[in-house]
Amino acid sequence: MFNFVGNVFRNLTRKPATRPYPYQKRAPIAGNRGHLVIDPAVCVYCGLCSKRCPARALAVTRKPNTWTLDPYRCILCGYCVEVCPKHCLSLKPEHGDYS
């Protein structure tokens, strides 16, 4: 019958197990495929990434040179990162901010 007394004491004296989000955010986990980032200076607008994208989230045009990503179609698979010949695409761990 007094099993729970120890439990109650522990619950009253310990810190909460939860984090006070949004005042304290969790550090992003290193391996996570968070969102797609491009280095525009290196891109040659070959269009290979948009041809290979399984979700048709990328659109690349030559004249004028544009590279557009539809972030809501992107499935973060990383196929474009692998096929880019100039290695200008990468996936950063934080969740993307699309505001």
Binding site: I29, A30, G31, N32, R33, P54, I75, G78, Y79
Partner: protein, 359 residues
């Protein structure tokens, strides 16, 4: 005079994770017959192979189901590799085993939580899903994503597990084992849980075989068949034996999945010990040609992939038969004779994944 009522169970029901409708014919409170109605999440994924080439289809196939997604991609990649004669390096095969087993763990933990919720044991539901979070964090840091891993490709895998990953796997498995040990008593030895599951949804061994049931549903009725015995990926090097029970009721199915969870933890530990050092993928050239059937063991049972290539970069036909599709006829044999209040428990005990069923 007994009154006959017809009530629709589903498609929206608090206990069902995905929509399926069972039209139950009831005599007072006992179910007389059940007729399933599917088609609420039919997405026509098999037709998309006409527009996506065979390398992009890996990502499509992962999204057939959200719970067993990695194992879908393993089945597909194995089929394409066999059709094109590609030999996967040994380290990639062990890595596929490790991620398949973490997927099995997270799927069984999810199922256990849903089953506990179906008979009102919400406390256990939350505790089990909290234990599952450790597995999802592990998948996020080793593979890149919590559930839809995106780490299997034709020719191997895309990522390796380094020293930090191995330490994290060890720590997660130790903690998970302690959590499982703590929840054995409330779920398996509790009087109320046993009252709701022992003897409920009983099905004989012959009827299970005749209705073509697969996975834990068949293994709980005494049929010792597990596709991992064929030794695909690296299972032939891991001394694998299937887990079998004989009672054929909901309690036996729960016991099978519980023991499979402990078995998965053991398999991951063994795979990590025996994993050799080698490249993790080989380059793939050319297009698939011919037809092949690839079968793999998902958490719910046997999944069958029929792939037909014709030398172009699009496959001619991809047919997927998922385990829940095979278990539904067995469910229709379990329901007659049970009480209406037991229908949710029985439906959940076959672990229905309707988005797999309807693709």
């Amino acid at each position: 005079m007994a009154k006959i009522t017809v009530i629709p169970f589903g498609p929206q029901h608090p206990v069902l994770p995905e929509p399926i409708q069972l039209r139950l014919e009831l005599k007072d409170e006992k179910v007389v017959s059940a007729i399933p109605a599917l088609g609420y999440v039919h997405r026509g994924l098999e037709k998309l192979v006409e527009t996506k080439d065979y390398l992009q289809t890996v990502y499509l196939v992962e999204r057939v189901c959200g719970i067993c997604s990695f194992i879908h991609s393993v089945a597909y990649c194995q089929g394409i590799e066999e059709m094109m004669g590609v030999e996967v390096p040994p380290r990639a095969r062990f890595l596929r085993v490790i991620w398949s087993e973490t997927h099995r763990l997270h799927s069984h933990l999810l199922w256990l939580g849903l089953l506990a919720d179906s008979f009102g044991f919400e406390n256990l539901f939350m505790q089990v899903w909290r234990a599952r979070e450790a597995v999802l964090d592990l998948q996020e840091s080793t593979a890149g994503s919590r559930v839809i891993l995106g780490v299997c490709c034709v020719g191997g895998v895309r990522r390796d597990i380094d020293e930090a990953g191995r330490d994290q796997i060890k720590a997660t498995l130790d903690r998970l084992e302690q959590d499982l040990h703590r929840i054995v008593k409330p779920i398996l030895k509790d009087y109320s849980v046993q009252h709701r599951t022992v003897g409920v949804g009983q099905i004989s061994r012959e009827l299970t075989f005749e209705r073509g049931a697969v996975g834990p549903v068949a293994r709980a009725a005494g049929i010792a068949q597990d596709l991992r015995q064929t030794g695909y990926a690296a299972y032939s090097e891991l001394d694998f034996q299937p887990v079998v029970e004989t009672a054929g009721d909901c309690y036996a199915r729960m016991l099978v999945r519980f023991r499979e969870m402990s078995q998965s933890i053991e398999l991951i530990r063994r795979a990590m010990e025996r994993m050799p050092v080698s490249p993790i993928s080989v380059p793939v050239k050319g297009n698939p040609d011919g037809e092949i059937v690839s079968r793999v063991e998902q958490p719910r049972g046997e999944v069958v992939y029929y792939l037909k290539g014709n030398g172009s970069k699009n496959l001619a036909r991809m047919r997927i038969r998922t385990p829940t599709f095979a278990n539904i006829p067995a469910l229709l044999a379990m329901l007659p004779g049970c009480e209406l209040a037991n229908v949710p428990v029985i439906t959940l005990s076959i672990d229905p994944c309707i988005s797999c069923t309807e693709r």
